[in-house]
């Protein structure tokens, strides 16, 4: 072991590394950015959670309770007119929790004898198990505080809170995760493999060779995407079946719709890989870029952490990722058995992204050095 040699090697490494602006950016800014992002994202707190409320009682007491709930930071009250609307909101995924104040609440609050306490019903989307649990906790606290004031000191009981998970009644976290995994795998792996394969082809010269033939850009793009797309679609099918057999998680909604949408998403991710390959000179660079792109994707797409818990700015940002919309669709089909019409906004987003990526992919192949 020669210290002189070691010092020489270190010196070279330092010089070479810090002369490359890309590497410097990655080494310094990425950890800092990650820390800040995750700090905000890593939260399962309940904050301005949209809460659908049906006040079937409409008495001063119920209105007082609602006012208290609205005043808190935890919830944002969205009144609904009937149960149908309430359930629709939950199925659509627009609200995660719903409160029903049944008729007779006010009367019971006045009489308060501890035997038949005033009741409030909380329904929530069991798919978002963690969030739902925290929502329940927050609501209990509020109701408890409010109830003490409403019902009067000295009386036993307070407001009784009954809870019901509308979907995923066993509050099993697995369907939530499984549905999310489709999104993760089909985003990350597909993009990575395409990017690397194509960069390697550029390096060996076979990509160039194709460019000198009568094959058009569209033909070349489809020639790349179709076979890979077929393989990943098969993967998709296998994953779905395996999740069902081994984990007991089957899609509650329309399987065909799920598969079709997923296949479309696969092709989009492949196209993205192609676009990334255009800006990468080496396979290593392609991998770096894909990974850098995918880590925020995992954090911000709602795969692991609920979007509703993120600061508003980040919530807007997540809308830009196709993955976010795909994961929403997957979860909707898997857990809430959502029908096609409820998914239209998401599908529209994905269609727009798909068109954009397809156009970019063709342009990438057409572009000359």
């Amino acid at each position: 072991m020669s210290w002189r040699r070691l010092r020489t090697l270190v010196q070279r490494e330092v010089r070479a590394t810090f002369r490359d602006p890309f590497t410097v950016a990655v080494l310094i800014t990425v950890p800092l950015a990650a820390l800040l992002t995750f700090g905000f994202v890593l939260s399962t707190e309940v904050n301005e959670l949209p809460l659908a409320v049906l006040d079937a009682d409409d008495t001063p007491a119920s209105r007082r309770l609602l006012a208290d709930i609205d005043a808190s930071d935890a919830f944002r009250v969205e009144p609904v007119r009937n149960r149908a609307e309430l359930e629709r909101g939950l199925v659509r995924g627009r609200t995660t929790a719903a409160v029903v104040i049944p008729p007779g609440f006010g009367r019971r609050a006045e009489r308060s004898d501890g035997v038949r306490p005033p009741e409030v019903q909380l329904s929530y989307d069991g798919a978002e198990a963690v969030l739902a649990g925290n929502a329940e906790g927050a609501l209990r606290a509020l109701v408890g505080a409010s109830g003490a004031a409403l019902v009067g000191a000295g009386s036993a009981g307070g407001i009784a809170l009954t809870t019901r998970a509308l979907f995923n009644p066993t509050l099993d976290g697995r369907p939530f995760m499984v549905a999310g995994v489709f999104g993760f795998v089909l985003s990350f792996l597909t993009t990575l493999i395409t990017a690397v394969t194509i960069v390697n082809e550029r390096l060996t010269g076979t990509f160039d060779q194709l460019q000198v033939t009568p094959a058009t850009a569209i033909e070349i793009v489809l020639g790349k995407l179709l076979p890979l797309g077929a393989v990943f679609s098969l993967d998709l099918l296998l994953m779905m079946v395996l999740a069902g057999i081994v984990l007991g998680v089957w899609p509650q909604g329309n399987v065909v719709v799920f598969l079709l949408v997923s296949m479309g998403y696969v092709f989009m991710s492949l196209a993205l890989g192609l676009v990334i390959s255009a800006s990468s000179v080496t396979a290593a660079e392609a991998v770096q870029k894909t990974v850098m792109f995918s880590i925020p994707l995992v954090q911000l797409s709602g795969f692991a952490f609920p979007i509703r818990s993120m600061p508003t700015i980040l919530q807007w940002l997540t809308e830009v990722f196709p993955a976010t919309h795909y994961i929403r669709i997957t979860r909707a089909i898997y857990i809430r058995a959502a029908a096609l019409d409820t998914l239209l906004p998401e599908l529209l987003w994905l269609a727009v992204f798909a068109a954009l990526l397809a156009w970019l992919a063709v342009r990438t192949v057409e572009a000359r050095a």
Partner: protein, 308 residues
Amino acid sequence: MSAPIIRVTGLTKRFGAFTAVDALDLSVPAGTIFAFLGANGSGKSTTIRMLIGLLRPTEGTIVVDDVDVVREPRRVRERIGYMGQKVSLYQGLTLHENVEFYGGLYGLEPRALAGRWRELAERFDLEAIDAKVEELPAAIRQRAGLAVSMLHRPRLLFLDEPTAGVDVRSRGLFWEVIQDEARRGVSVFVTTHFLEEVDCCDRVCFIDAGRVLADGTPDELRGSWEAAYRIEIEPAPGTQTRVAAMLAAHGLPVATEGTTLEVHLPLLEARELDALQAVLAAEPATRVRVDEVEMAEVFRRLTGGAAA
């Protein structure tokens, strides 16, 4: 000739079922320029990598400058200078930084390094240059690569296609430098694709499909052909008989082709050269032209009809 600086016996390398190098024997005398040739895929690069300790042979022995390379591959690195096909200067660093880097790796003290570099830069015409490596033109990069490989005064240089991609003038300069080094006692093991460069070397070994096809001096390789040297002599009108007689008197086999005389020889030695000079001195109007068969032709006949 002193003891061989490289001695290889029965060198074999197998990759699975494929034999890249097949029982190779090599002997490189010290202080010579040894050309090692072979087409891509002939086993040439594999052999070189084994010689410098980068690849472990399947069988055989390699002794380089008294070091058993198979057992102690690291030791050989201190004794040799290596210039690979991709010139081994680091991009992103300037030439000077590269010199510092390699100097440091070889354990040269800063003052000794500076002195040695001054000397080399002068010889290789690199003095005023201190740009980043990627901004240097190819010819300069090549010369710099060779200079850097010589920083630690190795007794043996391994140069892998040092003249590839470089213009004709730089190629010539390179060989001048290499021949200079050989004169100072440095042994040079060099590979090249330009067969005419073989003539600049002392010995040549040609490998094909993992086996030695030819091993000897350039003269020996040519010498296996009767007409390796074709000398055309055009005597001035009226002097033909006299000239022919003079040549015959010196022992040269003369053939007559109309008004021209032709001499075919496997070798051109002092005696033949003196004879030609004598003829010219006696009959200055005679035109003499020596045609040496090209190395490319020699090798083509050697390998003619080789398998795929």
